[in-house]
């Protein structure tokens, strides 16, 4: 596998600070739900910087999608969120990663916890689940600052219906008008309660900023969930 020159064929403003880039990658042979690609930028003097981005598209989609959250002091994400236009080209390599993946052959219930942009690979799992006709039960707990920061806002309801998934949003700062659900940072008690009735063979996927992943996975392990059934993807940060 080598670096490939991908065409940016679509861009969607996801939130005020995040964008989804649709990429057409030459000779793309599909991915597994949950995998990522690396994107590499090259400055005129040859200096290069590469970072990893999870795919949010379904495993078999011919056009792949990544959703990038802008890190204000970052090197690569500000360029991807503010500097790229449709028709531009980006170098990519992938798909990468073989553990944080969901395969349609899996029949056990799926439990997913996402924080911020960490919902991206979980949406890939949702989409792949729908496309494959898999009937395993799916639930998603999605932690997000406030309504305008919800990724895939317009599709989430549709995806939820199609997958017959149970989606729980947790707003950490502001909730929409009339919101009766939880508000405030996710803590161990919240996760424990949310997962209390899940079958013991459930597979768990947790993705987001490192601290968020640590908290969510620690909470599940503390309630007796087998650590080998918990797959995590840490996006970094504090």
């Amino acid at each position: 596998m080598n670096w490939a020159v991908a065409d940016v064929v679509g861009i969607r403003e996801e939130t005020p600070t995040a964008r989804t880039l649709m990429l057409r990658v030459p000779d793309w042979k599909g991915a597994l739900a949950g995998q990522h690609i690396d994107i590499r930028l090259t400055a005129p003097d040859g200096y290069q910087a590469a970072r990893s981005y999870s795919l949010s598209s379904a495993a078999g989609d011919p056009v792949v999608a990544v959703s990038v959250e802008l890190m204000p002091d970052g090197e690569v994400s500000p360029y991807l969120v503010r500097g790229v236009s449709v028709g531009d080209q980006l170098e990519v390599i992938g798909p990468l990663g073989g553990w944080f993946v969901w395969r349609p052959e899996q029949t056990e219930p799926i439990r997913m916890i996402g924080g911020g942009s960490g919902v991206a690979p979980l949406v890939s799992i949702l989409r792949t689940h729908i496309a494959s006709g898999n009937t395993a039960s799916v639930k998603l707990l999605y932690s997000v600052r406030s309504p305008e920061f919800v990724y895939f806002r317009d599709e989430l309801a549709e995806l939820t219906d199609a997958a017959r998934a149970e989606v729980t949003l947790q707003y950490t700062r502001h909730a929409p008008q009339g919101w009766t659900g939880a508000l405030g940072r996710i803590d161990a008690a919240r996760i424990t309660a949310w997962a209390a009735d899940d079958a013991s063979d459930t597979s768990t996927y947790i993705c987001g900023p490192t601290r968020f992943v640590e908290l969510a996975s620690d909470a599940l392990v503390a309630t007796g969930v087998d650590p080998m059934t918990i797959r995590t993807e840490r996006f970094g940060g504090a």
């Binding site: 590499r40 930028l41 090259t42 400055a43 290069q48 590469a50 392990v221 918990i230 995590t232």
Partner: protein, 200 residues
């Protein structure tokens, strides 16, 4: 070199000979793990080397603490592209641990609490190239960074420095560990950018 990305200039300008290709320097200490962070008490920790005929050499935590300790100053390179310079560790050299181990095997598998494994050729663990480290930056090693003890093999990508390590088994032929089966390179030399298994 790739295609030029219009309008991208990057942050770091000076070439740093300490930086392997495709890496960037970070001052943070990011966490890469496949699952939750296990919480292992020193009392339940032990370390066992098992040779190719099944003979075991083991240390409890207290026995381990009586072994000669070395201070290691080194750069570390994670496959997720960050490098961290001038990190300081304290631990026991694998040369010390292998002193009384009888073996003619060429390959090893490091084993960790939680079931993770990673494969390393034996010669990459000996001659001052690897340690079992239990201190980082003058403090006991944090669980999320592999505490109470992790392997430290700084000349390879950092996933080879198995967190929560509890033993090494010796093998006549090369087998692949957890990370390697899941898409990472069998050897993992950062200077050759051996990140993924299909990198030849």
């Amino acid at each position: 070199m790739g295609i030029i990305t219009p309008g991208f200039f990057g942050k770091k300008r000076e070439e740093d000979p300490k930086l392997p290709p495709g890496q960037y320097e970070t001052k943070d200490f990011p966490v890469l793990s496949a699952g939750p962070t296990p919480n292992i008490h020193q009392g339940e920790w032990s370390f066992t080397i098992t040779n190719e005929s099944g003979e075991k050499t083991s240390w409890t935590w207290d026995e381990f603490m009586k072994l000669p300790v070395e201070t290691v100053d080194t750069d570390i390179h994670c496959v997720t592209r960050w490098s961290k310079f001038d990190t300081t560790w304290r631990g026991v050299s694998l040369d010390t641990l292998f002193e009384n181990v009888e073996t003619s095997a060429g390959y090893t598998m490091a084993h960790s609490f939680g079931g993770y494994t990673t494969n390393v050729p034996l010669e990459d663990l000996l001659d001052g190239k690897a340690w079992v480290a239990f201190e980082f930056g003058g403090e006991p090693l944090d669980p999320e960074h592999g505490g109470p003890a992790r392997l430290l093999v700084p000349h390879l990508y950092f996933w080879k420095s198995a967190k929560w390590v509890n033993g090494i088994t010796l093998h006549d032929t090369e087998e692949l560990g957890f990370w390697e089966v899941n898409g990472y390179h069998a050897y993992g030399d950062p200077w050759k950018e051996e990140r993924y298994y299909y990198d030849s």
